[in-house]
Point group: C2
Chain length 365, copies 2
């Protein structure tokens, strides 16, 4: 079968050229006589692959030298614990709850210290990013160890378009579904992290970027597993133990693909164009309605529905038959979701919008 | 270049047919129009891959139905913390220290409870498995939550050929470097786990097999990250969050390869033959000496040296030039190490032994 257009929320579409390179190198990487999958993580061949991945990420995301880059395992979920265990020095943090993953992070943090929910959009079905003015003053006055946000809410299709000002208090952000989708100013964060399986590689790799002064004293809590000790992992170059060697290799290829395509500014242009095509259609549609409030719309995940579950199901089925896969919405919000990550080509988005028009035409006669 | 013979300790050699299948399926898995790397972990296509991997593992390792199989991330190192956090109900465990990884596990466990070292072979350079008679009586009398061993010591080349009797106290075993190298009686353990990057797949996947009664009440310690909550992971079928989807897919292929090759009994025969070729050579050599005491020799990792560091280095260089790579010993023990995991063909081992003979001839004239 021809390759489909894959709108899955993650794991998700990868650049075809990256996959082709992986296939070509699978039995013999660059003439070394073995697969990357077979390489010792302590070998110089593998260290080159690793160093190149980090260096490329540092270039495209413009990561300052006082930030450490860690390539870890366990997904964002493991970092929900790792962050408080490392950073909760005074035992108190503020969380902004804008969706399922922010809520999970907040609940997990309660195991390790006192947590204040500074704002939530739960009562409007997580359809927006709440007002965050004043968070910085509050955070400084309370003496939080950090303020936590989930920057793009994959399930609900919302995104912070402006970061909360947190003053001297470090901002910690889960950028899993918007990482490398647009330029990032790393200096705005104390710690920023992402599961790689959206725009930035594959499942099994979690990138943590952390300002070095925040980890110089080691974990705040003695119960922190050594694996999650950010200082230790930074000192060991993410090789405290065997990392996900193949995953990091693939991430490096994705970083190179982004760089060759014009970097994060080019990614943002494309992603705005792609998501814009769907939002424009939604804004004039009489059948489909967007879930996210316009000011909070994600450029990565576009959520919408007809309001009729049977019609939604029919739309998803029809899309799948046309090779437009992965558009079923998350059970928490229902309807449809089109994730238009970096590797989803605009042709796929055009085909989806064409199908939306055709479907609307057919069902509103 | 032709494929080399890879004696690395992990990540390590994989069956060429497994790699060839991964390459062939890289852009389009079984006509579904996408790579496994791009599949949603919640899709039915991926669930089939996952279920097949688990079912195949259960068949080849004869895992009883009252044991849960978890596919996690973070390597053995993360489980060094996960095990006490889940199992230390009464707060006390006994550890047998037979090498670097057992010692690391023991140190990590001290963060979470009281730990007794029941035996160690540290004072003889970890060249043997210590005497363990009486451990069961002691364990029961003390009321340990578990007794912990590292069953095959990758760095030192030793292996338990008989498991300690621990009576009613669960035996917990890190089998990372001997998992699927020989038949396993899972009923002997409360929990048995392995990083997959030796005989059982690739880096980034850790398989935990745990008796269900040990996890039915959830983690012993409230500080346990949800990611490491074995009950929660078991209930969610290892999909509490996005697992290492590609890694598990590859593991499944390795399990099928083992099954097609005759299962674990066949693996053991081959591994005994391969390691035996090197041990036989060592036993008559005047230049090379084995590190492990004969009764404790590993069938997976064969450690040896000349006693002269320059000669060792010359041997490693010469081996590499002949396409026999990864034979440098770990820095903690020096010399050489040949890991003869399942996927290392006997031709490679014969070539290594031929080279040992040639090298000895040349350097003992």
């Amino acid at each position: 079968m021809a390759r489909v257009f894959n709108f899955a929320a993650g794991p998700s579409a990868l650049p075809e050229s990256v996959l082709a390179e992986c296939a070509a190198e699978m039995l013999d990487y660059h003439g070394c006589g073995m697969s990357v999958l077979e390489m010792s993580h302590r070998s110089s061949s593998y260290q080159q692959i690793f160093d190149d991945a980090e260096a490329t990420l540092r270039r495209i995301a413009n990561i300052p030298s006082n930030y450490r880059v860690l390539f870890l395992q366990g997904g964002a979920t493991l970092q929900f614990a790792g962050i408080p265990m490392n950073l909760m020095v005074s035992g108190r943090a503020g969380y902004l709850v804008t969706g399922n993953f922010a809520a999970k992070a907040e609940r997990e943090a309660r195991k390790y210290g006192e947590v204040d929910v500074l704002a939530t959009s739960e009562y409007t079905g997580f359809d927006r990013i709440p007002e965050v003015a004043g968070v910085g003053e509050l955070a400084e006055a309370t003496g939080y160890d950090y303020v936590y946000i989930c920057q793009n809410n994959t399930i609900f299709g919302t995104q912070y378009h402006e970061l909360p000002q947190t003053g001297e208090v470090p901002l910690v952000s889960d950028v899993s579904s918007c990482f490398l989708a647009e330029p990032i100013d790393v200096t705005r964060y104390g710690l920023v992290y992402a599961g790689a399986q959206k725009n930035a590689g594959c499942a099994g790799v979690t990138v943590v970027i952390v300002r070095d002064d925040l980890i110089e004293n080691g974990p705040a809590l003695p119960c922190c597993p050594t694996y999650l000790d950010y200082r230790e992992q930074a000192e060991k170059g993410s090789m405290l133990n065997t990392p996900n060697t193949f995953g990091i290799y693939l991430c490096g290829k994705v970083y190179h693909w982004i760089e060759a395509a014009g970097g994060l500014a080019a990614m943002e242009r494309m992603n705005r164009e792609k998501s814009g095509l769907i939002y424009d259609y939604l804004d004039q549609s009489h059948l489909f309605h967007g879930h996210a409030q316009p000011a909070s719309r994600s450029i990565a995940n576009v959520t919408f529905r007809t309001g009729d579950e049977r019609l939604d199901a029919a739309f998803v089925d029809g899309a799948t038959q046309r090779g437009l896969v992965g558009v079923k919405g998350h059970r928490l919000v229902g309807g449809m979701r089109a994730s238009v990550y970096n590797a989803v080509p605009i042709e796929g988005v055009r085909a989806l919008v064409d199908y939306m028009a055709e479907f609307e035409d057919e069902h509103t006669k």
